[in-house]
C-alpha cells in the first residue's frame, strides 16, 4: 500500500510548526501505524533528514504513551484502540493521512508529534491515590467488595492516561481522565476514606492547570481507547458536589 502523509513538524516547544508532506510506499496492510512511521523515519534517516518525533512505548495498547491525532480522530479511525493498535488496512490504498499532535493548552508540543502530558501526572499527585501502610501484603479477600462495584471500579481503572479525552474535547477538558481516577477509587472501600478530599483536590488541580470545562458532548468517551463511560463523570460530579456541600 502507498500513502501520502501530512505530518506536523515542529523543531521545539518555542518554534512555529508546519505540516510537511511525505510519501511511504510498499507498506504491508498488516503493518501497524507506528511501524509505518518507523519505516518513514528509516527512510528519512537514510536521506539524511531529521526523523519524525512521536511518542510510543509498549505498543500493546496498555502503557498510554502513544498519542497522535490521525485524520481528525484521537488514536485514529478505530474505536476503543490506541494508535499502536491501528493497522494500515484501516486506510484506503493511496490515501492522504493527516497526523497532528494532541492540541490542548495544557499539553504543549515538545517536538513534532510529542506533547508534554505531565499535567495528568500533576492531577494524579494531587489525590489519585490511597494512603495505606506499606508493610506486609494484606490478604486480598480481607475486605469483601460487591462484584458490581469491583467491575465498575475496574472499568474506570482501565484508563491509561493517554490524554485522548482532553485532546478530543472541544473545550480541552480533562474530566474523563479525572473522573476515571476518582471513580475507580471511590467505588472501593479502600478509596472511600479519602474520596471527598480526593475529588476536591483533583478537580482543583485540573482547573489550576488550565483544562477546560466539561459540556457533556460525550466526544471523550467516543475517542477513549479504553471506552471509558461518561457515567464516571457523573460520579465525579456527585462526589465533588457532595464533598463541597459538606464543607
Amino acid at each position: 500500500m502507498n500513502f501520502t502523509l501530512k505530518i506536523w513538524r515542529q523543531k521545539d516547544a518555542k518554534s512555529k510548526g508546519a505540516f510537511e508532506t511525505y510519501k511511504v510506499e510498499n507498506i504491508s496492510a498488516d503493518t501497524s501505524f507506528l511501524e509505518m512511521l518507523d519505516i518513514l523515519n528509516n527512510n528519512l534517516v537514510h536521506e539524511g533528514k531529521e526523523p519524525v518525533a512521536f511518542d510510543h512505548d509498549c505498543r500493546e495498547g496498555i502503557c498510554g504513551m502513544c498519542s497522535l491525532h490521525i485524520d481528525g480522530q484521537a488514536h485514529g479511525p478505530s474505536q476503543g484502540a490506541t494508535t499502536c493498535q491501528i493497522y494500515m488496512r484501516k486506510f484506503e490504498d493511496g490515501a492522504t493521512i493527516t497526523i497532528e499532535p494532541w492540541r490542548s493548552a495544557a499539553f504543549p508540543v515538545i517536538k513534532d508529534l510529542v506533547v508534554n502530558r505531565s499535567a495528568y501526572d500533576q492531577i494524579l499527585q494531587a489525590g489519585g491515590f490511597i494512603s495505606v501502610r506499606t508493610n506486609s501484603v494484606p490478604d486480598a479477600n480481607a475486605i469483601p467488595i460487591p462484584k458490581a462495584d469491583a467491575d465498575e471500579s475496574m472499568d474506570a481503572a482501565a484508563c491509561i492516561g493517554c490524554g485522548a479525552c482532553a485532546a478530543t474535547c472541544k473545550n480541552g477538558s480533562a474530566m474523563l481522565f479525572v473522573a476515571a481516577r476518582v471513580s475507580s477509587l471511590a467505588k472501593l472501600p479502600q478509596g472511600r476514606v479519602e474520596a471527598a478530599r480526593r475529588a476536591k483536590a483533583m478537580v482543583a488541580k485540573m482547573d489550576e492547570l488550565g483544562f477546560g470545562n466539561c459540556t457533556n458532548t460525550g466526544a471523550c468517551q467516543a475517542e477513549c481507547p479504553k471506552s471509558i463511560s461518561i457515567a464516571h463523570i457523573a460520579r465525579l460530579n456527585r462526589e465533588f458536589l457532595s464533598a463541597k456541600l459538606e464543607d
Binding site: 485524520d71 474505536q79 493548552a105 495544557a106 482547573d207 477546560g212 458532548t217 457515567a231 465525579l236
Partner: protein
C-alpha cells in the same frame, strides 16, 4: 461556597445546570399558558390580567431575568475558559465523533439565537403588556390599532398575522428545540444524576420536553396565522 460557585469548573457548571432547570420549568409554564390562547382568548386574557404588573408577577419577572442573566453570563465565562484551554493551535482536520450531537457542540451559538428571539419577544409582547403597566399606561398603539395591555390575545393575533414574525418565531423555537435536546439531559449529568442505564432515558426525556415545547409554542403561532389568513374557517 460562593468561591466554589464562581471559580471551580464544576461549581460554574452547577450554576448553569440549576439556572437551566429553572428556565426549562418557566418555559413549560409559559407554553402551557400560551396554549390557553388557542382554546380561549378570553381565558388567556384573564391570565394576562392576573399576571400584569402585580407585585408577584414583577417579582417573578425579576427572578426570571436574573436566571436568564446568570445563565448567559456563566455561559460566556465557561466559553472563555474553554477557548483558552483549547489552545491557540487548532486541529487542521476534525470529525464529528460518533454519538456526539450537533447541538452539544454549538450550545453557545444556539443560545445566542435563543437570546435574540427573546429580545424580539420582549419587544413584541412584554414591552406592550407588563412594561406599559409598570410605566402607568393601559394600552399601546400597535400597527395602527390600540391594544390594551391586558389584551394579550389581540397582541398575539396582530403579531402572528405577519408572515415575517411567524418565520422568525418558528426559527426561534427551532433553536430552542436544539438547545433543550442537549441542555435538559445535560443538567442531570452535571449534578451527577445520571448513569449508563439512565442516559438513553434522560436523552429521550430531553427530546420529548424539547419537542413538546416546540409544538406547544409553534401551535399558537401557526393557529393564529391561519386565523389571520382565513378568519371565517377558524371562528375568529
Amino acid at each position: 461556597m460562593s468561591c466554589f460557585l464562581t471559580k471551580s469548573s464544576l461549581g460554574k457548571k452547577l450554576v448553569m445546570s440549576i439556572t437551566g432547570a429553572f428556565l426549562v420549568l418557566f418555559i413549560l409554564f409559559h407554553m402551557s399558558m400560551n396554549l390557553t390562547a388557542i382554546l380561549s382568548p378570553d381565558g388567556y386574557n384573564a391570565i394576562c390580567r392576573f399576571l400584569g404588573a402585580n407585585w408577584y408577577a414583577l417579582a417573578g419577572t425579576a427572578v426570571l431575568a436574573l436566571g436568564v442573566l446568570v445563565h448567559f453570563l456563566y455561559a460566556l465565562m465557561l466559553t472563555v475558559d474553554n477557548y483558552r484551554a483549547r489552545g491557540k493551535q487548532r486541529y487542521a482536520v476534525t470529525v464529528t465523533e460518533p454519538g456526539v450531537s450537533w447541538a452539544s457542540k454549538n450550545m453557545l451559538v444556539i443560545g445566542f439565537i435563543v437570546l435574540a428571539g427573546l429580545l424580539l419577544h420582549l419587544f413584541n409582547f412584554w414591552a406592550k403588556m407588563q412594561l406599559i403597566e409598570v410605566l402607568g399606561g393601559h394600552a399601546s398603539v400597535v400597527g395602527g390599532h390600540t391594544i390594551a395591555a391586558t389584551d394579550g390575545a389581540a397582541l398575539i393575533a396582530y403579531t402572528f398575522s405577519k408572515w415575517y414574525y411567524v418565520i422568525l418565531y418558528l426559527l426561534w423555537f427551532a433553536a430552542l428545540w436544539f438547545h433543550l435536546t442537549h441542555g435538559v439531559w445535560s443538567m442531570f449529568q452535571t449534578v451527577g444524576w445520571a448513569n449508563d442505564t439512565w442516559y438513553p432515558r434522560l436523552k429521550c426525556i430531553a427530546n420529548v420536553v424539547a419537542t413538546l415545547v416546540f409544538l406547544g409554542f409553534a401551535a399558537v403561532v401557526v393557529v393564529y396565522f391561519i386565523k389571520s389568513c382565513c378568519p371565517c374557517c377558524c371562528g375568529a
